[in-house]
């Protein structure tokens, strides 16, 4: 067992599960979407990105790309949330729907990332 691989896979899967946890629920119902979960998903996603740095293989490059996409969408969701609460008129249904749909996009990227991780593992067969 390779400790580095465990940490790597742990963060990638965690990013996916946290993201999923935030995403699931009625799209515009504030009770279904927790602020802290979005924060955790964003932080985990950032850590994932850094972990993927420096891999020169083709699969590595793809994984980095998916991670960057997830970051981009989650940061956008967080910025919209912050803007709506602090400057805009508060968190209404429409705003929340767009935040959740952005996180849905990030979820797709995270799923791809996990698929790539599985593909790489299968290819290496160790």
């Amino acid at each position: 067992m390779n400790r580095e691989k465990v940490i790597f896979a742990f963060f990638i899967v965690l990013a996916l599960t946290l993201n999923f946890g935030f995403f699931i629920g009625e799209i515009s119902n504030p009770h279904h979407h927790n602020e802290y979960e979005l924060f955790a998903a964003l932080v985990t996603s950032l850590i994932c990105t850094v972990l993927k740095f420096g891999d020169r293989t083709h699969v590595g490059a793809l994984m980095l790309a998916t991670s960057l996409v997830a970051d981009l969408q989650l940061v956008a969701a967080a910025v919209i949330w912050g803007y709506a609460v602090q400057i805009g008129g508060g968190l209404d249904e429409m705003i929340l729907a767009s935040i959740v749909s952005l996180s849905g996009g990030a979820l797709m990227a995270n799923i791809l990332s996990v698929v790539l991780l599985v593909v790489e593992t299968v290819m290496v067969r160790r």
């Binding site: 602020e35 924060f39 932080v43 740095f53 420096g54 020169r56």
Partner: protein
């Protein structure tokens, strides 16, 4: 650039993750800890404010406690966060700086910069491997002619010397082993502007691998290599190296020439060496017995060359060399008078001090000259640093391998016509012919450096010459006139004219030129600059041909033709 970024990112993984975690924990802590607003009502900080606060706290800017004054619990947490973020930042920046200062990283950056610089070259350049005495001379001379070069050398010191030599154009350089194919590739071996590869390292094997790599990749490109053994010479020759310079052998041939054809020797010397010998040096007696001290690589080459020319020889050496008759050999170094007396220095005409030690060599010629002041002295200089001493040694010939190779290579690079001329001169003409030629050369340049250059009548090199009007005939004399004043001549002399396979030495000034002709000139380098005007500028050429200095714009032509009517 990619690998640099990859290495940077990979090494910065730990510091970046630390930063993210510390920031995340700090933000989360501030959000979770309950606070109070200015009315004393419970208030809890949102992620927005928490991130804002941590951002300026982490970079120790510190705008104060916003938006409301903190409670003690918040202050307690902030205290911990301040230290955590400062340490995380110090750690990250420290890692980054350590990485940037690492020698391996520096090497990588230099290599990348070098590769980019070479790739961006859009002018023809020479790839020079080895920046020793020879390499630096060649690069300097190339720079003087505005020809670019790319330098590779194994030692950083010599690479630094490129910068200190004060060249007029920028020379991309890299400290790396030129014998490695990937290094050669980075240095532009397959670059379409690379017009020649000069393998001038002091290692025969390295030269061999450079030459063969170049010939395999781009067979038609010029490759010049130096060599120090016959085995390598044969090997280099076998795959078509364009010029192979063996310093000892070529100097031996050069020296032998002086014994039986002093004027031919001088012509050769004037054309090849920038600091040429004065004509008066020819009046020493040369035919007779020579003494060679030292039977190393140089001594061996000299010995066989002299023997082929039928010169009587005496060898002075500590060992007992093979192939030498007992009567021709004296044991010793040659630095003592006794040994030299035994070798018969009093009735010899010349002495060659060719050992490995510069001090010994100087001592030999000093002693020999004391015994026989009329002796021709040839001294071998092994180290470039001893220049000053050797220049003042008053020896007739100073043999310095680096310079010899450089001169031979430069002759080839200046114009491929020059070696053809020299070969023809040596094979077809006698010393009287050379004497006449030498007088003409001396008349043209005096004591200044004799430069030589080739001109080929073609669209790229001499556009003006191909734009002649109907009925105009271009004679060789026209090229040699001064474009500033056609009644004056340029300080130059045509040495050779080549049309297809037909070669003519010292062509007459009335020779009519045609497209495709090649002419070799010698003279002052200022004359070359003036001649470039003539061959490139149509107006100047018309002035030289007709004596009329018209402007050839459409308007002036119209005006002129209406005036004539």
């Amino acid at each position: 650039m990619n690998d640099v970024i990859y290495i940077l990112l990979r090494r910065l993984r730990a510091p970046l993750i630390t930063l993210i975690v510390v920031y995340a924990v700090s933000v989360l802590g501030l959000v979770l800890i309950p606070g109070e607003d200015d009315q004393g009502q419970p208030w809890s900080m949102g992620f927005f404010h928490a991130f804002y606060f941590v951002s300026f706290m982490g970079s120790t800017i510190g705008f104060g406690e916003v938006p409301y004054a903190f409670t003690d619990a918040q202050r307690f947490w902030t205290l911990a966060c301040i230290y955590a973020t400062v340490i995380a930042w110090l750690y990250s920046i420290g890692m980054l700086l350590a990485l940037l200062q690492e020698p391996a990283f520096g090497r990588l950056m230099r290599r990348r910069a070098f590769v980019t610089e070479v790739q961006r070259l859009r002018e023809p350049f020479y790839l020079v491997c080895g920046y020793g005495v020879t390499g630096s001379l060649v690069v300097k001379k190339l720079a003087a002619r505005d020809i670019r070069s790319v330098v590779l050398d194994l030692e950083q010191e010599r690479i630094d010397a490129v910068e200190m030599d004060g060249l007029s154009i920028r020379v991309p350089r890299l400290c790396a082993d030129a014998a490695l194919p990937d290094v050669l590739h980075d240095a532009g071996l397959r670059h379409q502007c690379c017009i020649g590869v000069l393998a001038m390292t002091n290692d025969d094997q390295a030269n061999l691998s450079i030459a063969i790599a170049s010939k395999v990749l781009v067979p038609e490109r010029m490759v010049i290599s130096r060599t120090e053994s016959d085995v390598t010479t044969a090997n280099l020759d076998s795959f078509g190296t364009d010029l192979i310079v063996d310093p000892f052998r070529s100097y031996a041939d050069y020296l032998v020439l002086t014994t039986h054809a002093p004027y031919t020797h001088l012509v050769y010397d004037w054309l090849l060496n920038p600091r040429h010998r004065h004509m008066a040096t020819v009046h020493k007696r040369r035919e007779g017995r020579w003494i060679i001290c030292g039977y190393g690589r140089f001594g061996r080459a000299l010995f066989s060359a002299f023997r082929q020319a039928g010169v009587e020889l005496t060898l002075v050496d500590e060992g007992s060399p093979d192939l030498v008759l007992a009567g021709q050999h004296v044991r010793g170094i040659g630095t003592e008078a006794v040994t030299l007396e035994e070798a018969g220095v009093r009735d010899a005409v010349g002495i060659v001090a060719g050992t490995f030690h510069d001090a010994d060599n100087l001592s030999i010629i000093m002693t020999a000259r004391a015994l026989n002041p009329r002796l021709i002295t040839v001294v071998r200089q092994n180290l470039g640093e001893n220049d000053l001493v050797f220049q003042h040694s008053r020896a007739d010939f100073v043999m310095e391998p680096g310079r010899i190779i450089a001169n031979r290579i430069l002759a080839q690079i200046k114009t491929p016509l020059l070696p053809v001329f020299i070969a023809r001169m040596l094979s077809e003409h006698d010393d009287v012919w050379a004497h006449v030629l030498l007088n003409r050369m001396s008349h043209v340049v005096g004591d200044r450096e004799l430069d030589s250059w080739g001109i080929r009548l073609c669209e790229e090199q001499t556009p003006a010459l191909l734009m002649l009007q109907q009925g105009q005939v271009l004679k060789l004399r026209t090229l040699m006139k001064d474009p500033r004043d056609r009644s004056c001549s340029l300080a130059c002399l045509p040495l050779m004219h080549r049309r297809g396979d037909e070669v003519r030495l010292l062509p007459g000034e009335l020779l009519e030129l045609r497209e495709g002709d090649e002419i070799l000139f010698c003279g002052l380098s200022t004359a070359l600059h003036q001649m470039e005007w003539t061959v490139n500028n149509y107006n100047l050429l018309q002035y030289l041909l007709t004596g009329q200095d018209h402007s050839h714009t459409l308007l002036s032509r119209l005006l002129r033709s209406s005036g004539e009517r």
